[in-house]
């Protein structure tokens, strides 16, 4: 029985088209469930987002009690004319930059360190990093908030104990910079492990011989790190950078929880939280959608870079 199967399947197809067509049909079957979900929950909402951003879409319109009024680009004009939008945009970029640079610096440094130390300290570091990575954003936000709490926080207590009496009931979440700084620390804490694991895998991929020959040539430790290891890690570093940019631009939970919805008088708004507040707290769905479109455009242009970097390292 197997013998007959042998002959039928071993015979190469006379023309390429039947195999291609059969593959196409099977592929359609395999891809259908994912495609339905992606079209329904990603592509269609994206189209709707753009559409809503062109309308005066408020509470009455959302409830279906008032007819929709087409505004064209008015929502965008309102946005671009408002100082608040530019301030929020600048804060978003600044905040994301600090988080990206921070997690890359910490993650890469610790990856290099981990590759130079013995197994037990390395394992401890990896366990700690996995713990930080596994902590849900909500839980992480609360712990950091508690550590820096004005009245019951450990940090103020320690600072006061070191002689900084003014710090004993200092509010870290009140000021714009200290609140953003606190959130940034939490974000870096939970996102550097991804960078570290990625870079560590990359370093392990570099052959020992290369490093040894560099050392034999008299290169110092720092010289090896900057002139040998770093250039070889560049493709991985690029991917980690762009992934971090994309994550940190979209931080929502941490900002929302740690600054109680965007800080005192909206001082700690980022685009994400701003769009959410305009839409769901202010019932300005059209304006919120316009902010969402702006954010999408920014992130998709970063995607352009990502696709290009992937094209070099991954064959499509």
């Amino acid at each position: 029985m197997t013998a007959t199967r042998h002959t039928t399947s071993a015979v190469p197809p006379p023309v390429r088209t039947p195999r291609r067509r059969r593959d196409g049909r099977a592929a359609a079957l395999y891809l259908a469930p994912a495609a339905v979900l992606l079209l329904g929950m990603l592509a269609y909402p994206l189209y709707q987002l753009v559409l809503i951003s062109f309308y005066d879409y408020g509470r009455a319109e959302a409830a279906g009690a008032a007819p929709l009024v087409f505004l064209g680009f008015d929502n965008y004009a309102e946005l671009l004319e408002s100082i608040k939008f530019w301030v929020v945009l600048a804060k978003t970029i600044g905040f994301a930059t600090v988080c990206v640079v921070g997690s890359l610096l910490v993650g890469t440094t610790l990856a290099v360190l981990a590759s130079r130390v013995r197994a037990v300290p390395r394992m401890l570091l990896f366990l700690a990093a996995l713990g930080a990575w596994a902590t849900p954003a909500m839980a992480g936000s609360y712990v950091w908030l508690f550590l820096f709490d004005a009245d019951f926080g450990l940090v103020n207590e320690v600072l006061a104990g070191l002689g900084l009496q003014g710090m004993s009931d200092h509010s870290w979440t009140y000021g714009t910079y200290s609140a953003f700084g606190l959130v940034a620390m939490e974000v870096i804490w939970c996102s550097f492990p991804f960078v570290m694991v990625t870079m560590y895998a990359g370093i392990k991929g570099i052959s020992e011989e290369v490093l040894e020959s560099a050392a034999l040539d008299g290169a110092s430790w720092t010289r090896i790190a900057t002139s040998v290891i770093l250039p070889m890690l560049r493709p991985l570093l690029l991917i980690a950078t762009i992934q971090s940019i994309i994550w940190d631009f979209k931080v929502f939970t941490q900002i929302y929880v740690m600054t109680n919805g965007g800080g005192v008088a909206g001082r700690n708004l980022v685009l994400n939280v701003y769009a959410y507040q305009e839409a769901f707290a202010g019932s300005q769905y059209g304006l919120g959608a316009a902010i969402g479109v702006v954010m999408t455009l920014i992130l998709l242009s970063i995607t352009g870079l990502y696709v290009r970097s992937q094209r070099q390292s991954v064959e499509l």
């Binding site: 596994a134 019951f152 479109v293």
Partner: protein, 274 residues
């Protein structure tokens, strides 16, 4: 030796917030809300955990989060595996275009889609009540969709790494494509599946935004993040309860991470290498 000491100290700093979370959850209320917090406690107690677990619906929220996360993990494994097989093993027109679209889809800021998705879920509720607003089904749908592009992209590398000769050999032995896919390919891409399941689990388990937006008037369908928010009040935070709730929320993810730790690292690096 210096590097070793530095590493251990850094590990301690990184782990400290977790230690503080568990410690504060175990402290009696008077010690948690103390102006002179101590880095240890002489009288550990489970009263914070008891208060949280006794409170209205915490167990229910825990169950809701678990249901959503488990269903999302299961379905995203199945769907992303099927798609990854199709995109690596089958030759058909438009394959490259699909791959690029999946890459781009990963970058769409899903948070920005909250507004249209809210209206979409409202309409879905009219047709299929289990997937509409206020239902767990709506959360499953969004998390699944947002997880798929990355999951497919990651698994692709693993499927591609299985030599084509293996498939030809299986075919010669009379195995159908279906059998080959499930009995040979599926076990071989296990590290990739583990990495995908971890990412999907964390994503669904951590979600605060969509639960906040979609589950508005049916509190018994809330998930964990909202449950902890209850103890967070501007003037009188119950830090003991918040830390106990946060600990309970972190434990399942930690267990999951520890279980798959080795495979996760190889899975992620495999995916990054493509």
């Amino acid at each position: 030796m210096v590097a070793e000491v530095v590493t251990v100290v850094i590990a301690g700093i990184v782990a400290f917030p977790l230690y503080w979370m568990v410690l504060s959850a175990l402290k009696p209320a008077s010690e948690v809300q103390s102006a002179n917090p101590r880095p240890w406690t002489f009288s550990p107690t489970f009263e914070n955990f008891e208060r949280v677990l006794d409170s209205a619906g915490f167990a229910r929220y825990f169950l809701n989060s678990t249901i959503v996360a488990v269903v999302v993990v299961g379905l995203s494994l199945l769907l992303s595996f099927l798609s990854a097989v199709a995109l690596t093993r089958f030759r058909f027109r438009g394959r490259t275009v699909l791959l690029v679209m999946l890459l781009v889809a990963q970058m769409v800021p899903v948070e920005a889609l909250t507004i249209p998705l809210f209206f979409l879920m409202r309409s879905i509720g009219d047709v299929a009540p289990a997937f509409g607003l206020n239902e767990l089904g709506s959360l499953v749908l969004v998390h699944l969709a947002f997880q798929l592009p990355l999951a497919i992209w990651m698994l692709r590398g693993f499927v591609a790494a299985v030599p084509i000769e293996l498939e030809e050999a299986a075919k010669l032995d009379g195995a159908s494509r279906f059998r080959f896919t499930w009995q040979i390919l599926f076990p071989l891409v296990l590290p990739g599946l583990v990495a995908v399941s971890v990412l999907a689990f964390i994503h669904a388990w951590n979600d605060f935004l969509f639960a906040k937006t979609f589950i508005i008037s049916k509190s018994e369908n809330q998930t964990l993040p909202q449950a902890i928010l209850v103890y967070f009040k501007p003037e009188e935070n119950d830090w003991g309860a918040i830390m106990a709730g946060s600990t309970l929320m972190t434990i399942p993810v930690l267990i999951f991470f520890v279980l798959v730790q080795r495979r996760l690292v190889s899975g992620l690096s495999g995916a990054v290498k493509g």
